[in-house]
């Protein structure tokens, strides 16, 4: 396993502590996680041989500073905050990879600051809305349906790892709290409907874009892949079989290969 460096930086006039996992070697890229926190290490590890990966935790989800979420109120705050994060990490124009909520965030950053992103990878991103295919509210799910909604194979190894809890009682509480609080902090920007105006801004995205979608995504139907592709000039779509809302966890090798090829091209 590649070495992972943890860096903690204070942003936003010292009011928001942000943990960034840094790994790999090569030209930099940034990964933005989904609503449940950073569960994407297996996937990132496959990109690490050729890239220096920066994976920040969303504001409020860094352990020890849960109230940081109250320092940012709206999308404009969040986009400006990420400009500051780029600056502090010394990233001029990195490629951005975003999953789900992170995909929506990557779109907003690329639309607001077209000069600061060179390539975009969107994995089952939030951000658009179709009346005939409403996005499922992942924050209102009974426990016995969570696996089936998020994963194509609810009993598979990826689902097992995603929902696994430590045996140690204290570590277990930490993991549960982190899983719930991450949804609370990301949910702040998308509740109750994850359609917050990206449709009016998405035309500003002007970089090569790869859209990856799990064919059996039950949170955001894969038909949304074309909704994004129609609005981003030159975007390329790849649908992944046997994968739900987290295709990079269920079909890690295939998604990693597609992303590597796209970044190298």
């Amino acid at each position: 396993m590649a070495a992972v460096e943890e860096r903690r930086i204070r942003l936003w006039q010292g009011k928001v502590e942000t943990r960034v996992e840094i790994s790999g070697d090569g030209p930099p890229l940034m990964f933005l996680h989904g609503p449940w926190g950073l569960h994407d290490r297996d996937f990132l590890e496959r990109l690490a041989p050729a890239h220096r990966i920066y994976a920040p935790s969303h504001p409020g989800t860094t352990s020890g500073d849960p109230d940081a979420i109250h320092q940012l109120d709206e999308w404009w705050d969040l986009v400006v905050y990420h400009g500051e994060l780029f600056d502090r990490l010394g990233l001029d124009t990195p490629p951005l990879i975003g999953h789900s909520f992170g995909g929506m965030l990557a779109c907003e950053i690329a639309a607001a600051m077209p000069g600061r992103v060179t390539k975009l990878v969107l994995i089952d991103p939030l951000g658009l809305w179709r009346e005939d295919l409403p996005v499922k509210n992942w924050m209102i799910l009974p426990e016995d349906q969570r696996r089936g909604v998020l994963f194509a194979d609810p009993a598979g190894a990826a689902a097992e790892r995603f929902f696994a809890l430590p045996a140690d009682p204290a570590a277990r509480v930490d993991a549960q709290a982190s899983f719930i609080w991450s949804q609370a902090c990301t949910g702040k920007f998308v509740w109750p409907i994850p359609d917050k105006g990206l449709k009016r801004r998405i035309h500003r995205i002007a970089v090569p874009t790869l859209i990856i979608w799990g064919n059996r995504d039950q949170v955001i139907a894969s038909a949304y892949a074309n909704e994004f592709a129609q609005r981003i000039a030159g975007a390329h779509v790849e649908l992944i079989d046997h994968a739900g809302h987290l295709p990079h966890l269920e079909q890690t090798d295939e998604v990693a290969r597609l992303v590597r090829d796209f970044l190298d091209s």
């Binding site: 709290a177 719930i180 609370a184 949910g187």
Partner: protein, 296 residues
């Protein structure tokens, strides 16, 4: 307005709101619900008391000219009661504000000891007095001619808990509804026990104390025990619940007021003054003597 119509007899309740109401039905952002509620409370309090028009530049509300009319009769404002059912953060907030904490457990005095103890510990820790009137408690009550006859309340209490109060558990656990300290606390050792309400029947509701039901003597004994154990100054007697018909409701109120209430009213009066009740409604009570009880 109600304070004016009632000649200064309003108790103002300010519930934070359940996730089902606030976030699911009305779209309030879960992680903002609490701070938004607190700002709204500040705004109402200022509006009640301001003598001049003012501008409100809040985080969640911006109003150019706040100009309330009519202003309340009670000065500086009506007493404030804030309900809670299991959040440590709400308990702390209410104690710090010195308002009345109104425990809406719905599960009865017997199941309220963990939160009750936490409440009084917080009161002591934060330097407030042990005045029982700072605590309100809601209790379902059914009074009948005898313990056996109280079974007439069975279908109605079951209707109440199985249909009216029931919401799926995950509706109550929307991420962000609890702030981070309360979330961690709930995961470690919850202040409130969870029940599968649809599994319980009348007998269980009575045995577990969700409903205090029986003859006046039975109800009286159990209520006095609960009131003293939890130091309840304000008992919210829920005498109409579920599918209860009008006649049964009248009977319950009548029996309760005649044969139970007089034994509860004066429990704390000799020691404490009720600062959380409209001044016009404050009266001194005395508990009936055993001899008077035997006569009636």
């Amino acid at each position: 307005m109600i304070d004016c119509l009632s000649g200064g007899r309003l108790v103002a309740g300010f519930p934070t709101g359940l996730p089902t109401d606030a976030t699911i039905s009305n779209g309030v952002v879960p992680v903002e619900q609490r701070e938004r509620y607190r700002e709204a409370l500040q705004l109402v309090l200022k509006a009640w008391q301001a003598r001049e028009v003012f501008a409100w530049n809040g985080r969640h509300y911006q109003l150019p000219m706040v100009n309330l009319w009519p202003r309340p009769i009670q000065q500086p404002h009506p007493p404030i009661w804030i309900p809670g059912s299991g959040s440590a953060t709400t308990v702390e907030f209410v104690v710090d504000r010195d308002d009345c904490f109104c425990h809406l457990s719905y599960f009865g005095a017997k199941n309220a000891e963990t939160l009750g103890d936490y409440y009084w510990d917080t009161v002591a820790r934060r330097g407030r007095d042990a005045n029982p009137y700072r605590l309100g408690f809601l209790q379902l009550i059914g009074v009948s001619e005898s313990d056996a006859a109280a079974e007439e309340y069975a279908p109605h209490v079951e209707y109440f808990f199985h249909k009216l109060l029931y919401t799926p558990q995950y509706y109550q656990a929307i991420p962000g509804y609890q702030d981070h300290p309360s979330l961690v606390r709930t995961l470690k050792a919850p202040l409130r026990e969870r029940f599968d309400l649809r599994e319980l029947k009348y007998k269980d509701f009575v045995e577990r104390g969700f409903l205090i039901a029986g003859s006046a003597a039975t109800v009286r004994d159990q209520l006095i025990e609960g009131v003293k154990r939890l130091r309840i100054g304000h008992l919210l007697a829920l005498l109409h619940f579920g599918s209860m018909p009008h006649e049964l409701c009248l009977k319950n109120i009548d029996l309760f007021c005649r044969d139970v209430l007089p034994y509860l009213e004066g429990i704390w009066d000799d020691e404490w003054q009720d600062r959380w009740w409209p001044a016009r409604l404050r009266v001194k009570h005395s508990i009936p003597t055993a001899a008077a009880a035997a006569e009636s």
